[in-house]
Every structure is written in C-alpha cells, then in structure tokens.
C-alpha cells in the first residue's frame, strides 16, 4: 500500500521545516523536504553599506551566526583586496572554533539525542513518538543527565566565543580586515580554562555517549546513507594566502566522490531551479543567479534552490569534512575516526549513515578543540588585530567557509560603494535541496529513500535521518512553501 507520511513541523532543528515521504510496504520510495519561512534577506541587504553585511547576515541564524560573520567578512576582505593580520586570522578562528563546539554539543544532546533516548515524562520531553527506545533504563537516565550537563557546558563554549567576539549569539568584533578586539592575557587565560573544561566533557562524556548509542542502534550505521558525494570549502585559515583555493586550512577544501578525493573549483557551482518556485532559468553560478519567485510554476515543490557541483548533488557538513580529511587532513582526526570504527567493528563505508554523521561531528569537535589550545597561544599581544579597509566604488567578492553544518558561500557585488547584490548558499541548501533538472534528488531526500517507517504512525526513522544532517532552515529558505506537490495518496499524519 502506498501512503504519504508528513511530519510538519519537524521540531528540534533550527527553523521551520516540513517533511513528506511516500511509503510503499513500510519503506520510503519518494521524499520531499521543504522550508516554511521566508524573510527576504537578499532584498533587505541591497542598497546597504557593505560593512553592515557582516552584522545583517549573522541574523540569518542564531545558532551559527559566527559562520556568517566569517564568510561575510572574508567576502568583504576579498572585495576590498585585503587580508587580516596574523592576530586577526587566529582570533577569527577561535571565535568560530568555539561555536563549532557549542553547535555540535547542542545538536547532539538537545536536538538529536531524544530520538534515541527516552526522556522523563513531562514537557518538553512529552509528548513524543512512542517507539524504538532501546537503551536500558539506567543508560537512558545517564544520557538524560548529560543532556542537562550539556546545557551548562555549551554555555561555556559561547563564553569562549564571546571572550573574543564581544557577545554570542551575534558577535560584535568580526569586521573586514580582521577583528576589533584587543587581545590581553586575561582573555587568553579565561579562554584556556573554559577550553580545558570543554575538552574534558568532549573526551569523557560526549564521545562515549555517541559510541554508546551507536552500539545499540547498529542498524543506523547503514540507514540514511545519502548521495556518497561530499564537498567542503574547508575552514580555519592557517596562513594568509589571498587565493582561497590555495590557502592552507585546518579542515581542507575539497571533494570526495565514491571514496576518491578530488579538487574543488568554486566556479563550477550552479543553482538549479527546475523544482523550485522560481522563474525557469538554466542553472547559474550564485554570483549571477536571479531570485524571482514564481509560485505557480509547474513541477516545482520547494522554495529551496538546488545547488549542484558540476551538475551533481553533494552532501556537506561534518561527515563531508571527515571524508575530505580522512586521508591527508589533520592526522589526529583520521586516527580518531578509524579507531572509533574499529571499536564498533564498522568499515569506513558505515560512516555514510545516520550514526556516521553523529560520529564525524563528535570526533571533529575533539580534534578542533585540541588544535584551538595551540592556536590561542599563537596570539601576539603587541601585534595589530586588523588592517585598514577602503570601500571600493565597484567590486565583486566571494567568501567560502565551512560552517559547523557545512559549506557556506557568500557572494557580494558592490556598486557606488553600496551592496548591489548579495547571495548566500548555505549548508542546508546543499543538503535539503529538491530534485534538479536531471531528476536527481537532494542529499537528504536521497538519504530518506529506503528508510523503514512501518505503518507511518510513528515516523521516527525519518526524523532520525533528517536530524543527522543538522538542518538549519532559517539560513536556507528564500521563500515560504505552501506545501510540497500533492502526491495523490492517503495522508496518515
């Protein structure tokens, strides 16, 4: 029997998202995901002072504002022809790194864990889908107590970020040319102590909990594989090479296709609008694409565009970074991943799964936190934090950066010293993209295919798959979706 299962709103993600799946004999055979909020940022940015983009674009998302601050300031650096001095580069990395830690801990404990762990019997833990909680009562209670502990510990990651960014969410000190904050020994001390506490939590609580859940939900080491193609712009600059494609980054820029590494050329990105409610046009590069709504377009079912690299869909995020960095990236990350896989008696292929995403997220948190302890000591107290900028009459700029959730690109056109055009392609647009002109599904849609959902009354498998991508819809959605295309089948939920 073919039935349609809908989960709308999908909670415990950032923003507003609905999911629809067509189920045949208990398995998903067709899937649609759609965002449900439009704010019109592209329109709001036009005509403003280019400097204001760093502040305005952070308001795309209160969970990952630092990533937009970083992409936007690098986009302006690029347009202005400047590079931050060493202190500016390092402090930007620390601000972003602290938010990776914050975001990953929050995602695992507060957004994803309740899919696997039965919480206590009062709001906000009830109501819930009542099925498939497999952990023994005692283990469940332990992880719920870590849920509570994680609420406190993620706050310290925010404090670390604020030590250099002024405040969080929405940091104040990131500007084109570097940062505004003057480093001093008190800031470095307070940062190091908080980082130590976080590293203790990551090593002794976060990673063991992910492994505990992975051991019990072994089938989720195969469920939700996705498209098998991965892209990362890389993040955390380690030198000041002006060409971003040549710049050394802690997480490097690259692609991984069927296990093979490949270089990445930013000019090969194009946004396909075949199934999106925008006026029909051939796929176009984000620096040139138009955003003209067409709410009645035949065949369209989403307000997300479909970014493609050389015409193919790519998954982005911690798993993509892991795949791109497993061989030749930070050695400690590759080692930790292989060690975890050995412990679970899994192969590298098992990384392409719901549990693989959680594992990749946790282990990159650990590698990054360790690296940050070295970076903070590289700050020189007597060196400048920013270089001066001059807003050109007319310029183009590009900022490519990996947010905690994956590849993030900002593109600006400046005319008469004002923003003439601003476009962002964010991680969730890659992951939650709709089908394209070649009828290829987006990565989340593809990951949902074959998912076991039984009668559809408790569609927890769908939620587990979608949440493993850590979708962030506030960033992604250009416009509202009234609904996915009507599939002409029975509604269950």
């Amino acid at each position: 029997m073919r039935v349609k299962v809908a989960v709308d709103p999908l909670t415990r993600i950032e923003g507003h998202l609905g999911i629809e799946a067509v189920v045949d004999n208990g398995k998903v055979v067709e899937a649609r995901s759609a965002g449900t909020l439009y704010r019109g940022f592209e329109q709001i940015l036009v005509g403003r002072d280019p400097l204001d983009a760093v502040q305005i674009t952070q308001r795309f998302c209160g969970v990952c504002p630092t990533a937009h601050a970083l992409a936007s300031s690098q986009c302006l650096d690029n347009a202005f022809g400047i590079m931050p001095p060493r202190n500016g580069r390092i402090i930007r990395n620390l601000i972003q790194g602290a938010n990776y830690i914050q975001s990953h801990i929050l995602h695992f404990y507060h957004l994803a864990a309740l899919d696997f762990v039965r919480g206590p019997d009062f709001p906000p833990f009830v109501p819930r889908y009542e099925a498939d909680y497999r952990l023994p009562e005692k283990t469940s209670q332990e992880i719920v107590s870590h849920y509570v502990q994680a609420l406190h510990i993620r706050l310290k990651a925010h404090e670390m970020s604020a030590v250099f960014s002024g405040k969080m969410p929405h940091c104040a000190s990131v500007v084109p040319g570097g940062v505004t904050v003057i480093p001093a020994v008190d800031k470095i001390t307070t940062f190091l102590w908080r980082l130590k506490e976080l590293r203790d939590f990551i090593d002794n609580v976060y990673i063991p909990d992910v492994l505990t859940i992975a051991r019990v939900y072994r089938d989720y080491g195969e469920i939700g594989a996705g498209c098998g193609r991965f892209l990362s712009w890389g993040a955390f600059d380690l030198d000041d090479e002006p060409d971003v494609a040549k710049r050394k980054r802690y997480f490097r820029m690259g692609r991984c296709v069927n296990g093979q590494l490949a270089p990445v050329d930013p000019s090969k990105v194009a946004e396909d609008v075949t199934c999106s409610w925008y006026k029909a046009a051939p796929p176009a590069h984000p620096a040139a694409a138009r955003t003209e709504p067409d709410r009645n377009k035949a065949g369209a079912y989403s307000w997300l565009k479909a970014p493609r690299y050389e015409g193919a869909a790519y998954e982005v995020g911690p798993l993509a970074r892991a795949m791109v960095n497993l061989n030749g990236g930070p050695p400690e990350l590759g080692k930790a991943l292989d060690q975890a896989l050995t412990e679970l008696r899994w192969k590298r292929e098992n990384l392409c799964s719901v549990m693989g995403r959680h594992l990749a997220r946790a282990l990159e948190t650990q590698a990054l936190a360790n690296a940050m302890a070295d970076w903070v000591l590289q700050i020189k107290l007597d060196e400048p934090v920013a270089v001066a900028h001059k807003i050109p009459e007319s310029a183009e700029g590009m900022g490519l950066w990996d947010a905690s959730r994956g590849a993030l690109g900002h593109w600006i056109s400046i005319r008469n010293q004002k923003i003439a055009r601003y476009q962002a392609v964010v991680p969730t647009t890659w992951n939650a993209s709709p089908h394209d002109g070649k009828n290829q599904p987006g990565p989340i849609e593809e990951a949902l295919l074959g998912a076991p959902v039984g009668d559809g009354n408790n569609p927890f498998a769908l939620a587990r798959i979608v949440r493993s991508f850590d979708p962030c819809i506030a960033c992604a959605v250009h416009l509202v979706t009234p609904r996915g295309r009507e599939l002409g089948v029975a509604r269950i939920v």
């Binding site: 709103p9 704010r39 709001i44 250099f164 929405h170 104040a172 506490e197 979706t481």
Partner: protein, 305 residues
C-alpha cells in the same frame, strides 16, 4: 572555578528531579504553562536565553525558575521531543485547558503580507497554517505575552527595509487583530538571558507590570531605563578626547558608528555571556539592537549618526 553548577548537573537524574516530586506533595509550587512560539526568527533569542546562569537553564526548563514557581514548556519547537501534529496539538490543548493562565512567549516578527503566507507552521487539511493564524488562536487566552527579542517586539531584522514580508512586532499585530492582552517587550538582538528571566519573574511574582514600570517602548525600566552611553566604560576616552577612527584602535567609538547615546540597555553593567565581555569592551561600536529602530534607524551601522 566558580562553575560549581556542572557538579550539580552530574547528579543522577532521579535525584535531580526530586524538586518536581516535592512539588506534587507540597502544593506550594505554582505552575505556569508556557507556549513559546518562534515566528520570523533566527532562534538566536532561544539560544541566548539558554545561556542563563542564575537560575541555570536546568532550573528554567526542568525545575523551578524561581523557588516555588515552575514553568511547563508545553510548546517550544527547538526543545520539545514531539514533532508534527503531536507538537502543535500540544499548543492548542494548552490554550484550551489553561485559558487566561498561560504565558505566551513570542520570538521573531510576524509576517503579515497576504494573510501571513510568508511564514507558516504546520498544516491542517493539507493547508499550511500561517504564524499570523497561530497568534490569532493563542494570544487571546494568554495571561500575558512576552515579546522576546527586537524582532518580536518591534519587527527588527525581518522588518528592515524594504520589509519584503510586511513583518511586524507582536504589539502591532495585536492591534491589527484587535486583540487586547498585556505585552511586555524584552528587546535585544538577541535578548539577554537576565532580561528574560527578570521579566518572567516580574510577571510570576507580582503579576503584569503597571504602565509606570515600563518605558514608552513597553520595556521594563529596571533593565532598559538608562542609555548605554551614560554608563559606558569608554567614557574616559570621550572626556579625554580620544576617538577611534578605525577598527582595532582604542578610543571612544562615536566616530565609527557607536549608537550608545541612542540605546537603552544595561549592557555596560550587566555584560554578556556570564559577564565575560560585551560589544563595546570587544572594541565594537554599539549597534543599538534594543531599540525599535534597529537596524534601519542605526544604519549605516559603522557611521556616526
């Protein structure tokens, strides 16, 4: 370290929830159902509020927000376990069952163009339900509405020119819908956790604040009564005539766009993120994020007004 709270959080969960069991026996604990709805928002205010330290966020969502006062977070889309109809039904049931007794917390502006089609939450009979409709359903029965953040209070970022979705703050939306329920604004981009907790405490302990406790923009004067400029840590630079002219330079930041003189908030004395820093102390000019005119009245952000 002053962070003893991590140790208490490690308490096994059966023990850490004892206060709740105590509540059922003692009957002294007052319970308040909460519906917290995110509209045209970035979730930044929710993320900020969970940075509260006194009380801890554990106290706020799982325990007593104030001794003897317990919140029940019956709807919060980022935190709740439920999804789909299971979640929105919980909101409607709360509104029905606790009419006149629940607090409706609004985060984000409300899109109003074409009946609010730009922002929807859930669906009924195959049709999306606009956020505007949720306000129509949930606002009238609330004992009070708290507008968390500048977008909820005054429209904020989504309402910035050209305001493509005709987004409005909750006060303006209630006027539009002719709904009369007391609204207390807790602006900021984001809202500071202390401002939120304090405003909730004001309502729980003493009821809805009187007009004289609020300023002309509906904010509690205790938090928003004085300008950032009046208590600024950089006042000595102003007195000495030392002005920053570019980023990373030390001095009063009026010339690079500081909006402290036009902004009402206690950031200079309260500071942010457990007091580790705040905008001006990080060398960045105040953007005026707690004001009804944010961001347009303060743009360009880095130019003297």
């Amino acid at each position: 370290m002053r962070w003893a709270s991590a140790a208490t959080a490690l308490t096994p969960f059966s023990e850490s929830f004892l206060p709740r069991l105590g509540a059922a026996l003692a009957e002294a604990v007052k319970e308040y159902p909460i519906i917290w709805m995110q509209h045209s928002a970035c979730s930044g205010c929710s993320v900020s509020v969970i940075n509260t330290i006194h009380p801890s966020i554990k106290n706020v969502i799982l325990d007593q927000i104030l001794p003897g006062h317990q919140l029940y977070l019956n709807y919060h889309s980022t935190l709740m376990a439920a999804a789909g109809h299971l979640s929105t039904d919980a909101a409607m049931e709360t509104a029905k069952k606790h009419k006149g007794k629940y607090v409706f917390i609004v985060e984000g502006a409300i899109p109003t163009r074409d009946g609010g089609i730009d922002g929807t939450l859930g669906e009924e009979d195959g049709k999306p339900v606009p956020m505007l409709e949720w306000v129509r359903r949930l606002a009238p029965g609330a004992m009070a509405i708290l507008a968390v953040g500048t977008c909820a209070a005054y429209g904020g970022i989504p309402a910035a020119a050209p305001n493509p979705t005709e987004a409005k703050g909750i006060g303006d939306v209630l006027k539009m819908l002719s709904i009369s329920v007391p609204v207390i604004n807790i602006p900021g981009c984001p809202c500071h956790p202390d401002w939120f907790i304090g405003t909730v405490a004001r309502v729980l302990l003493y009821g809805v604040p009187s007009a004289k406790e609020l300023d002309e923009h509906g904010r509690l004067k205790v938090y928003y009564g004085k300008s950032v400029h009046n208590r600024c840590i950089f006042r000595d630079y102003l007195d000495d005539g030392i002005f920053a002219t570019k980023f990373g330079e030390v001095g009063c930041m009026l010339e690079i766009g500081c909006k402290g003189p036009f902004t009402h908030a206690d950031c200079p004395i309260r500071q942010w993120n457990s007091g580790v820093n705040w905008c001006i102390n990080s060398g960045a000019p105040c953007m005026g994020c707690t004001e009804p005119g944010f961001p347009d009245a303060h743009s360009p952000l880095y130019q003297r007004r």
